[in-house]
Symmetry: C2
Subunit: 419 residues, 2 copies
């Protein structure tokens, strides 16, 4: 499949971009090659697509189902009971709708942790985006459960071959308070042997540190260091309660972090992502995530970028922190490198996914600084076109088949809630 | 002018709403009255319109012009020099475009403080919305300047008759560090005599408290109390640095506050709006504002509501704070009462402005709780139709003449930046 984007704005110049099977083969003033599909780029800006560093895609099913509640009551009285009733089919439609919502917001890659792994894998393939998918690995310190989880994860890892190249299998140890040391050590070895990413909640809430200190006499990060699981394949999510020493350990092992500003506020986790330690102090690579729809409730990474940049400024007392351009680069370039994706810049020879921004949207006017306008003044509605792995997934904000997906998703969510 | 909205969702029921010159005359299952204009309400929800409690409308001209800078450098090097070059015509186009942006985001009432009062008044009338407009009253403790400002404000007050009912004149004493006690006392008397609202920045930054303590030996609120200017006509904007005693004084005088969560983060003012004192402790009425486009940069009050609700949860450590419904009510009902507008609820005999929400937007699905979905999962793009003072300003997201306004606005902003 070849695509020619005619007369689009790229780094301030009008260009034609020729894409062959996802690889950018030509960027020029006037490309004369023939393409299977031609896109009129007039009034549009080409940018690399956005990467959602942490979510639970199928939780779209729970959007608006239970908000404004105390955490314990919310989880135990509402979220978990409904999650327990979910079937593979529910998860398929929840994930498929999440993929649709992400496409509509310019996201083509997401890092997921949820139940019924294969259902989400199918949804990702059917929607044509890229998913780094992990099952939720929880053993509650029970070695029998650990054994079963390990077997299940080996099965999924083997199964994942079938869903390449859209899906990449990752490990999803839930958190240090739900997974035993033995399981983590097994994942450490298996992930090293087969080069598998490890996706884990880390230092989201204060209770986690308390638990870790009581059980192990160590902070969560010190404990993970002790298990040997930290490496450049390790991605810790949230990180609000990390201290300076934790950051130094993570940096030492080349581990990465994902920041969920909206979720952290909504669930009032008590501390903001410590940008100063993470960014200035240690230069730990991090990107942004929306988190799931029960704790955000929108898979709009442009909105998330605004929250992230503004919270960085506020919490550091420095209005120059996380500038618009830097924020955008983190959500694209840095995020891609964290997931070992190819260079996420629109250059000849590269193969990033591409979005086209509709510059006619009034919120992007007068148009002094495109990055500033995207991060501070807009939202996902500015995304007009999405190209992923060499295929056009959305044009003029329309995704083929979206009406049917939305309909089936609504039915599924209501059926689930009434179970 | 009569409007009939057919088959729209209202409080969970399908209704017809008949509006005669802005007054809701009938709400029924099937209205048989004839109307000048009929709107198909299918797939839409009718809600009272949003009220923007504090902005500097024409600062749309500066959107994206200078972000991510230290405050002093930003103000002195960028914002003030450009503001000094603005003409009445610039302000007219900046304000007109701001009105357009507000309409597109479901806002029909805004509270403004800016230069060239009459230019903004004209823009408000031309766009058909409602503006509470104040000139920026600054005298820098110079009694000559104070005298001139007083004369100028009396002139504007008289002139404002011409712009009724769209425009209401208010006083805009900039802040306690730019306006002398004598000016404030004059405004106190004049506002009491003619029933004029007073719109003032209050306790936005720590320096303000320091200044007040040094000059007066009082906190900013204690000083205002001392001048006698506090009353139910007083609207203090920001309020981040208010302490418990300040809140008690404000409550005593029935004064009100406006909260600008996005601006406070972006300019990193050092403290969050103290919800606990203001809301729980003293029950001071407050509403939300976007602030101007240089410090937000989007006049989207739905986005602002999400920031406000989430920051309230985070800063109080309580995820039940500012629920979605309460947040929405603050931005509509409470805000209307602060500005002495009629009851802002869609009931027979009332005359609130009305917006219709497009429930087909996927971010509002599955649709378990409309307030939750609006506040946490959406943005201004869900607004389909806007009715203000009995006129339809927007239908299917189109405002008549918007293309021309955008074009002229862009020209104006770029001409200004190049001056």
């Amino acid at each position: 499949m070849t695509i020619l984007i005619k007369g689009v704005q790229l780094d301030g110049h009008t260009k034609d971009i020729y894409i062959n099977n996802g690889i950018i083969e030509e960027i020029s003033e006037h490309c004369t090659l023939n393409a299977d599909r031609t896109i009129n780029g007039k009034g549009k800006i080409a940018l690399p697509s956005l990467i959602n560093g942490h979510t639970h895609a199928a939780m779209t099913l729970l959007r608006g189902y239970a908000d404004d509640m105390p955490l314990k009551e919310w989880l135990e009285g509402k979220i978990w009971p409904l999650e327990n009733k979910m079937t593979a089919e529910d998860i398929y439609w929840g994930s498929k709708f999440a993929c649709l919502e992400m496409i509509k917001n310019g996201i083509t890659v997401f890092n997921d942790m949820y139940w019924f792994w294969e259902a989400t894998a199918k949804a990702v393939c059917d929607m044509g985006i890229r998913g780094f998918l992990s099952a939720v690995f929880i053993d509650m310190f029970d070695l029998e459960r650990s054994k079963k989880q390990i077997e299940h994860n080996i099965e999924l890892f083997e199964l994942s071959e079938k869903y390449k190249p859209h899906v990449t299998f990752t490990f999803g140890p839930h958190a240090i308070y739900t997974v035993c040391k033995e399981s983590l050590q097994w994942m450490r070895d298996f992930s090293e042997k087969y080069d598998i990413l490890i996706h884990m909640h880390l230092s989201e809430i204060e209770e986690e540190t308390r638990f870790s200190q009581e059980k192990y006499g160590l902070s969560p990060t010190e404990f993970l260091d002790d298990t040997g699981i930290l490496s450049n394949r390790f991605i810790g999510c949230h990180g609000c309660w990390l201290d300076e020493n934790d950051c130094s350990i993570l940096k030492q092992h080349d581990a990465k972090l994902v920041h969920m500003p909206v979720s952290n506020l909504k669930l009032s986790v008590g501390r903001l992502f410590p940008y100063r330690h993470i960014k200035n102090g240690h230069g730990i690579p991090f990107c942004f995530g929306t988190d799931g729809c029960a704790s955000n409730n929108h898979l709009d990474l442009i909105e998330t970028m605004k929250f992230a940049s503004l919270l960085a400024k506020f919490s550091s007392g420095d209005p120059t922190m996380l500038s618009a351009k830097e924020t955008f680069d983190i959500a694209t370039k840095t995020a891609a490198s964290m997931f070992f994706l190819p260079e996420w810049e629109i250059k000849t020879g590269n193969s990033p996914d591409i979005i086209l921004i509709d510059t006619n949207r009034p919120e992007l006017k007068p148009g002094f600084d495109i990055y500033s306008d995207i991060v501070y003044a807009s939202n996902g509605y500015i995304v007009d076109t999405v190209i992923c792995m060499g295929n056009i997934l959305m044009e003029e904000r329309h995704v083929p088949g979206e009406e049917g997906i939305i309909k089936e998703f609504i039915k599924t969510a209501h059926r689930l809630a009434e179970k």
